[in-house]
């Protein structure tokens, strides 16, 4: 089956940072955990695949379609939410939604009302009156109401308390059950143990691995001998980052 997202050879140079040949695919129906340290290139990659920054090389395809050639059509089918998104923070949610929904061909008011209720969002509030978790939920509600098939979430659990994070991870799993696919960037790797089916690991602008979760753990775990003593994502990432400090040649 055609991957929902295919990123191939993405490069982007900044004076003090570089994305180098970033290549990975997101399979339909998966939750791809996109992990890496702060500053590893997660947000730059996500901004690139949303056409917010301009890569110097590489191709991005959604649903088998070239992104730049089919940008409007593709954006009808994807949604984006970030922990830091803060647009129109002084406008009422109902006013933001009233304008936003006019842009989407597949906007479903019943679905929107369903998620308003599920997420306990109050339409008369403004984004600045919402907690960080509720802001992410608002963006999710907007994305799901226009029937987004693919959700791109940039560090959505940043700044959330453990309960809100857990609640949000449950929501992600429900969303995937309803047929959507999620690309979920985070440096809080414990979030992924619960919900991710695939892992893409980026370090200093380079993709180190992009594998199904179990394969990633088996490949990179230091304890491969026993099922009961397998490393989790955090153990693996910490170890790989420490090793990388002493192994500059691999960069």
């Amino acid at each position: 089956m055609e991957p929902i997202l295919s990123v191939n050879g993405l490069c982007k140079q900044y004076p003090e940072f570089e994305l180098k040949d970033v290549t990975f695919e997101v399979e339909r129906g998966s939750i791809m955990g996109f992990i890496g340290r702060n500053g590893a290139g997660k947000t730059t990659t996500i901004k690139s695949i949303l056409n917010l920054v301009h890569p110097s090389a590489g191709t991005i395809r959604y649903f088998g379609l070239d992104f730049l050639e089919h940008e409007k059509e593709i954006k009808q089918r994807i949604g984006y939410a970030a922990g830091t998104a803060n647009s129109y923070k002084k406008k009422k949610i109902k006013d933001i939604v009233a304008v936003t929904k006019t842009f989407y061909d597949n906007w479903d008011e019943d679905t929107y009302q369903h998620y308003l209720e599920l997420f306990e969002l109050k339409e008369n509030k403004t984004p600045e009156q919402l907690s960080e978790g509720m802001k992410v939920k608002l963006n999710l509600a907007l994305s799901l109401s226009h029937k987004a098939e693919f959700l791109i979430l940039d560090e959505p659990t940043n700044g959330l308390d453990p309960f809100s994070r857990d609640e949000l991870l449950d929501v992600f799993q429900e969303v995937v059950k309803s047929g959507a696919t999620i690309l979920f960037s985070t440096h809080i790797t414990s979030d992924l143990d619960k919900c991710a089916s695939h892992i893409t690991y980026i370090r200093r602008g380079q993709i180190i691995a992009s594998l199904p979760m179990q394969e990633f753990i088996q490949t990179y775990s230091a304890n491969t001998g026993s099922d009961t003593d397998t490393d989790n994502i955090e153990d693996i990432m910490l170890r790989l980052e420490k090793e990388a400090r002493h192994d500059p040649i691999t960069e």
Partner: protein, 217 residues
């Protein structure tokens, strides 16, 4: 495009942009550099760009299922609509001062610019400067607006200064005349102002589209 204009008005713009249209009434102020009114109308538009940046409007818009160039176009349509509204008000007030209020005592002594077609041409030149120096330079980053506004303000006040000076130069007094005999040449100058406004705005719009397509947000 209608949805984008709706977004501009309901989410991105500042009410001050609409409120500052009242500065078109400065056309009525006697013994005053009335061209400053065009600067204040532009200053009102500046508030919408400021409000939009604070609301993270460009980021939000780029993520919508629209072409990036439409974001630029909607900002221009919004600005041009308010500029033309102000120009229309200026024109009506100019006609009133040239006809009904021609003999009003308050306007009998005036060393400053009279409202006439030349004044209207200068109004359009100031709006063209706003589009070229402010909006175009704003879209070079889609974020910083301080320097573009300072550049525009300097250009606008230079234009006010030129407008207020030219008619004092011997042989150019017709620029400030209210004599109907000078009207044809003044209307030609107004036509030039209209052409300058259209050409400069189109050039600025095209350059802004190019900028937004190439910058990293």
């Amino acid at each position: 495009m209608i949805q984008l204009l709706n977004k501009e008005i309901k989410l991105a713009s500042s009410p001050l942009s609409f409120l500052f249209l009242v500065f078109a009434c400065m056309t009525f102020i006697p013994q005053y550099p009335i061209l400053v009114g065009a600067f204040f109308v532009s200053f009102g538009l500046f508030h919408s760009f400021q409000a939009a940046r604070e609301a993270d409007d460009i980021h939000y818009s780029v993520l919508l299922p629209i072409a990036k160039k439409d974001i630029v176009t909607s900002k221009y349509i919004f600005s041009v609509t308010l500029e033309i509204t102000a120009f229309f008000l200026n024109t009506v007030f100019t006609i009133l001062r040239m006809t009904v209020l021609k003999d009003a005592a308050a306007y009998q002594t005036n060393v400053m610019m009279f409202p006439n077609p030349v004044y209207l041409a200068f109004v359009l030149i100031i709006f063209a400067e706003f589009n070229y120096f402010f909006i175009r330079l704003f879209f070079k980053t889609a974020y910083y607006f301080g320097k573009p506004f300072v550049i525009f303000a300097v250009m606008a006040f230079l234009t006010v200064g030129i407008g207020e000076t030219l008619h004092h130069i011997p042989g150019l007094s017709f620029l400030n005349s209210t004599n109907p005999a000078d009207l044809p040449v003044q209307l030609i100058i107004l036509l030039c102002g209209i052409l300058i406004y259209i050409i400069v705005t189109i050039l600025s719009w095209k350059a802004s589209i190019k900028s937004l397509e190439t910058i990293d947000l």
